[in-house]
């Protein structure tokens, strides 16, 4: 299953990231994990939240431009070479990765990475066919 990722445009000005987080907090939206990509003048905040639709509405109400995109949560063995093996599989399948970041997990649990593929549908089919565990949103967000 694909996961809906919330992303928003943040100007590189003091207080803007905080205000976005406060907008989510005010709507009671918990952030499971995030990744902030930055350029000189702006950043793009990507978030995995419990309720992406409500999160998008909360950000837009606060004046942010927000978007939902499909990403995949892929289980990775929490041992040396775990991520490399996953990437070997995506390479073999010829899948194009835009970016990725780690999902926060408790120590001892299986590691999970969030991957934004250029073509999430094809990626999902290919990964499942090749036996990788693509985590269900429900299971992922239980914790």
């Amino acid at each position: 299953m694909k996961i809906s990722q919330l992303s928003t445009f943040i100007e590189n000005r003091s207080g803007r990231l905080r205000a976005a987080c406060e907008a989510l907090a005010a709507s009671g939206i918990n952030i499971h994990t995030l990744c902030l990509a930055d350029s000189r003048d702006f950043g793009i905040l990507r978030l995995i939240v419990a309720d992406p639709l409500a999160g998008k509405a909360a950000l837009e109400a606060a004046g942010y431009v927000a978007q939902l995109t499909d990403v995949l949560a892929v289980e990775v063995a929490d041992s040396a070479g775990g991520l490399a093996r996953v990437l070997a599989t995506t390479d073999e399948a010829g899948l194009d990765i835009e970016y990725m970041y780690a999902f926060s997990t408790a120590p001892g649990q299986q590691a999970v990475v969030i991957i934004r593929f250029s073509d999430p549908d094809r990626a999902l089919a290919e990964l499942q066919r090749r036996g990788l565990n693509v985590v269900e949103p429900v299971k992922l967000l239980q914790g």
């Binding site: 350029s39 990507r46 431009v65 927000a66 835009e98 934004r116």
Partner: protein, 446 residues
């Protein structure tokens, strides 16, 4: 022989400059004769002028006095665009020896033409410009106006050669080389845009060169508006006298008006360019001394006569005698315009051009603003654009690409390299009523 002896008359005078001192009655008589002739020429050879005069029941014979000029219709920048490229020419191409072009309002340039006689007139008014600035034969003059389609470079070049000065045709840019030439050639005078010269002063200081130690004594500055404070800074930091000149391609290029040693307003070369001041709202002609929009009529131009061209520059005409003895009326330094045209590095830019560039990329007009700042003495245009949902992407590469495409599109339309900044929605200031698009912060940050 004259050419070899005139320098004895002292700097500031040249035989060609004698037209600057015509008695008023003689000047008005000359203007009227030339006005009748130019209106006849425009009517005979340019359909746009003929149709507009016909529509008002006017013929060239309607011009019996200089005051009758006020009965003729105005010409505006859009007329040059609508007749692009050659529709306003009054001479066959076989008589046209030069074309120049400057930016228009929608990406199409404004094209202007010159016959050999026009080039001669242009050289003579530029000669008078340099003579008024005290430049003469024997002076080495660095011409940092851009050479090419822009009228600045070649206009100044011909005037300098006509006066007999030694021209260094360096054109714009390459500041380190400009500084080197100023020092090594022992240059006496420079032509540049004022903002570029401020940049040059700063660069020279970085290179350990104090311009006040060089023989440089005069600067001829134009092609963009500048403030009295800028002039003070230029004169103090470079140890020179800074002269303001005025012109526009539609009329001839530089050489419409220039300052003399009194530095108190710009003498209009009104034996060739007849000035009127009008109320920009009603079009009514205002008397000398009142502030309004400058309207110019070319009195001797052959290839492209211009009848009552609305410059959009706000100024006033001063008829009182000048300390220098010239009888030509003066116009005050142009500080603002009656439209929203911006002048950056001597290039004319309209907000509508920026809008056209944004539309070309996004398909719809985002909320944006234009901020003009002076950074290190150089004018810089910043375009700030609010990111709309349609153009937001979670991929940083896509956003950088969007910014590049916008900058590229603006460069295509205006020829300018601008700094594009993407902004959050609703983050840019909004004004009540008519949208304010341009924030000129150049006055605040000298």
């Amino acid at each position: 022989m004259l050419r070899e002896n005139w320098n004895d008359a002292g700097p500031g005078f040249h035989p060609v400059s004698s037209s600057d001192y015509l008695p008023a009655a003689q000047l008005r008589d000359l203007q009227l004769r030339r006005l009748k002739s130019i209106v006849g020429r425009a009517y005979a050879h340019v359909p746009l002028f003929r149709e507009r005069m016909d529509a008002r029941g006017l013929t060239p014979a309607s011009i019996e006095s200089l005051a009758d000029l006020g009965r003729l219709p105005f010409t505006v920048k859009a007329d040059l665009r609508d007749t692009y490229p050659f529709g306003l020419f009054a001479s066959p191409m076989s008589e046209i020896v030069r074309l120049h072009a400057s930016s228009g309002t929608t990406g199409k340039p404004i094209v202007v033409a010159y016959t050999a006689e026009d080039i001669q007139v242009w050289s003579s008014v530029m000669l008078r410009t340099f003579a008024a600035a005290g430049i003469s034969r024997g002076d080495i003059v660095q011409n940092a106006f851009g050479y090419g389609l822009f009228t600045g470079g070649l206009g100044a070049h011909y005037g300098l050669e006509a006066i007999g000065a030694t021209v260094v045709p360096v054109s714009g840019g390459n500041t380190d080389r400009q500084v080197m030439l100023l020092r090594d050639f022992r240059v006496n005078a420079i032509c540049a845009t004022p903002s570029y010269f401020l940049h040059l002063i700063e660069r020279a200081a970085e290179l350990g060169i104090d311009l006040r130690d060089l023989p440089l004594r005069a600067g001829v500055f134009g092609a963009e508006p500048w403030t009295p404070e800028m002039r003070q800074r230029i004169e103090a930091d470079a140890g020179i006298k800074a002269f303001d000149i005025y012109g526009l391609s539609e009329i001839i290029g530089p050489g419409v008006a220039s300052e003399c040693s009194a530095q108190s307003g710009l003498h209009v070369f009104e034996d060739h360019f007849y000035p009127e001041i009008i109320d920009p709202e009603t079009g009514a002609v205002l008397p000398d001394g009142e502030e309004g929009e400058l309207v110019l009529t070319t009195l001797s131009k052959r290839a492209m006569p211009m009848i009552r061209y609305r410059t959009r520059d706000i100024t006033r005409l001063v008829a009182e005698p000048c300390a220098c003895g010239r009888t030509l009326r003066r116009m005050e330094r142009v500080g603002r315009r009656s439209d929203d045209m911006m002048i950056i590095h001597g290039i004319n830019v309209f907000p509508s051009q920026i809008e056209a560039a944004l539309l070309a990329v996004e398909g719809a007009l985002p909320h944006y603003r234009i901020v003009l700042r002076r950074e290190h003495g150089l004018d810089q245009m910043h375009v700030e654009i609010e990111v709309s949902p349609e153009f937001f992407s979670d991929r940083i590469g896509a956003m950088e690409e969007l910014r590049r495409r916008i900058a590229h599109s603006i460069h295509n339309v205006t020829g300018l390299n601008v700094a594009v900044r993407l902004a959050e929605p609703h983050s840019l200031p909004r004004s009540e009523g008519k949208a304010k698009r341009v924030w000129d912060e150049r006055q605040d940050s000298q």
